[in-house]
């Protein structure tokens, strides 16, 4: 099937999900973001907030203001319309120190794919990624655009803690982690960039639809960039589309 029909999925009395498909696909993500923008423009009564993901949009609602079934059907009808695509968003350049203590799985990932670590870094840093969703924990940016030759299923045993700023891959997904957390993904490197800082403006750095490039950065720069990030700088460069 080239064009999946969107489906309305119940999530209790306070939410529903419009599912465009069940896979990671830039075409699905584009439709999710288009529906999200269309809903934001319409401001339908009862909608509290929306959550775009790789392949679906979840709508949280106030069941006292809106009938979840009727609102769900209305949003599904909108999702079935051809909606204007969302224009390309900001491009972020995120410095990453790869390998060694910064990316403890780099060697293993390289060995698994029969590559040398430098080739893994090149392939991870080559694409222009798009932020498909922010989820799991605050500021965790899930990207689409990973080189399929790097795809690798998750580790059988998650690590109980991985550091803030971890740059990792899992399946066909690439991730920028914000804060320390458990993870079953493969750790390729670390960035001093913090995508979630409660007392910084902006609190959240990345938004769904933003574009991301990783910039391989020497380990010698880590201390300086970390200190700047600690002082509240974003240390990521960005430009408008």
């Amino acid at each position: 099937m080239t064009h999946d029909a969107p489906r309305l999925l119940a999530c209790g009395d306070t939410a529903f999900t419009i599912e465009f498909g069940a896979r990671i696909d830039p075409a699905l993500s584009a439709r999710v973001l288009a529906l999200d923008a269309a809903l934001a423009a319409r401001a339908l009564p009862g909608i509290r907030e929306t959550v775009p993901t790789y392949r679906s949009l979840t709508v949280h609602l106030d069941p006292l203001t809106a009938d979840p079934e009727a609102l769900g059907r209305a949003v599904l009808a909108l999702a079935e319309e051809p909606l204007p695509p969302v224009a390309a968003s900001r491009l972020w350049r995120i410095p990453v120190v790869y390998g060694g203590a910064f990316g403890i799985d780099l060697e293993a990932v390289a060995a698994h794919h029969g590559l040398d670590p430098v080739s893994v870094i090149e392939r991870h840093a080559a694409p222009e990624y798009r932020v498909a969703m922010i989820g799991f924990l605050p500021g965790y940016a899930y990207l689409e655009g990973l080189d399929p030759r790097l795809a690798l299923s998750r580790r059988p045993h998650p690590r109980p803690v991985t550091p803030a700023g971890t740059i990792s891959i899992g399946g066909a997904q690439a991730l920028v982690a914000s804060i320390a957390a458990p993870s079953g993904w493969h750790l390729l490197g670390r960035t001093p960039v913090r995508t979630f800082v409660p007392d910084r403006d902006p609190v959240f750095l990345l938004r769904p639809g933003d574009r991301v490039r990783f910039v391989p950065t020497p380990a010698e720069d880590w201390e300086r960039l970390s200190a700047a990030a600690e002082a509240g700088e974003t240390v990521a460069e960005w430009s408008e589309a």
């Binding site: 939410a15 529903f16 509290r48 949280h60 009938d67």
Partner: protein, 342 residues
């Protein structure tokens, strides 16, 4: 001089919670807020606060408190243990004044998990993203981003109480013997028919893994369909029932992850979230599917009950009434205990 609530002793979990921090799900931040919203709102009503005012949420906790710099009006609602004011019993679900120099002791509840101690005028805390609710994983809200600790000194907001009358309120029963109601979906089609039937007929026991993020259950495994137990991550709701590879359900709660890669067989209706929250490890739950229209009617009934709370406040005054209120509340708690044991 500002008044200080001094947490002299604490065992168990305690955090600051207000109405929560909605609006940041798309940024990966769940809303936090009370695990038992009804208890939180009842406690706040009892001390004359607006709904959603900052309060202390106790989780299977025991504590001792004093106030410095002036009196404070307090009320405890939800899963309440014995409450003593200078050694004398005080009823829960009623407001009372803690005077400077007096000592308030909260015992661990005999049934349920979460209780809210509302503080007239609220707490003077700096909001983060519009809320003082603790989100522990995010390290924001609460007391410098963390839970309350023994020895904490909380600055009170608002004026000291004038001579208002103490008021009481009947606790809303948890109906622990009734099934918890769910709406099937969003991914009930990722399970076999037998798997869905298992979920809706088996008895599940709250495991030791139960906290503000989610409640993991032990019990018969729910069979996934041919698609297995991984999905491309999508968003969660409070009450989402996700089923990982073990087949044992996990109900996601106030501090949950905002997205997840396990299929979600059902969603607990908003009116029944407190009935999950108040189950402790070892206690059991059965799930019953209802349709969306019925779930919405439950939400409407709950909202009407909350709106009606102020009308149900009744004055409580004098020592005789106080003791009687204490006895009545004790009987109500015993009744709930019987339900939970059945």
């Amino acid at each position: 001089m500002s008044r200080i609530l001094h947490l002299l002793r604490l065992s168990g979990a305690a955090s600051i919670q207000d109405g929560g921090r909605p609006g940041y799900l798309r940024d990966g931040l769940s809303a936090s807020g009370p695990m038992d919203r009804l208890a939180h709102e009842a406690a706040n009503r009892l001390v004359g606060n607006p709904p959603g005012a900052a309060a202390i949420e106790w989780g299977l906790a025991a504590a001792t408190l004093r106030v410095e710099g002036g009196p404070v009006r307090l009320a405890l609602a939800g899963a309440c243990g014995p409450l003593l004011l200078d050694g004398e019993p005080v009823a829960d679900h009623r407001s009372f004044v803690l005077r400077e120099g007096a000592e308030l002791t909260l015992g661990r509840p005999r049934t349920g998990v979460f209780a809210t101690l509302a503080i007239a005028g609220g707490l003077a805390l700096r909001p983060v993203l519009g809320s003082v609710a603790l989100h522990r994983r995010a390290g924001i809200g609460g007391r410098d981003g963390g839970p309350l600790q023994e020895g904490d000194r909380l600055t009170l907001a608002g004026p000291a109480p004038a001579g208002e009358a103490d008021v009481g309120l009947d606790p809303v029963p948890l109906e622990s013997d009734r099934p918890v109601r769910v709406v099937l979906g969003p991914q009930d089609d990722h399970f076999t028919q037998e798997g869905v039937a298992t979920f809706l007929t088996a008895t599940y026991t709250v495991s030791g893994q139960a906290d503000r993020m989610g409640y993991q259950f032990d019990g018969p495994a729910i069979a996934h369909g041919a698609g297995g137990f991984n999905i491309v991550s999508d968003a969660t709701a409070m009450g989402s029932v996700q089923v990982p590879g073990s087949g044992r359900p996990i109900v996601l709660m106030a501090d949950r992850q905002t997205t997840g890669g396990y299929p979600k067989i059902a969603t607990v209706i908003s009116a029944d979230l407190r009935r999950i929250a108040q189950r402790r490890p070892g206690e059991t739950v059965r799930f019953e599917a209802i349709d969306l229209a019925a779930a919405r009617r439950c939400a409407q009934a709950r909202a009407a009950a909350l709106d009606a709370l102020p009308g149900h406040l009744c004055p409580v005054a004098g020592e005789a009434e106080r003791l009687m209120a204490a006895n009545l509340a004790g009987a109500a708690v015993d009744a709930l205990g019987d339900d939970a044991a059945s």
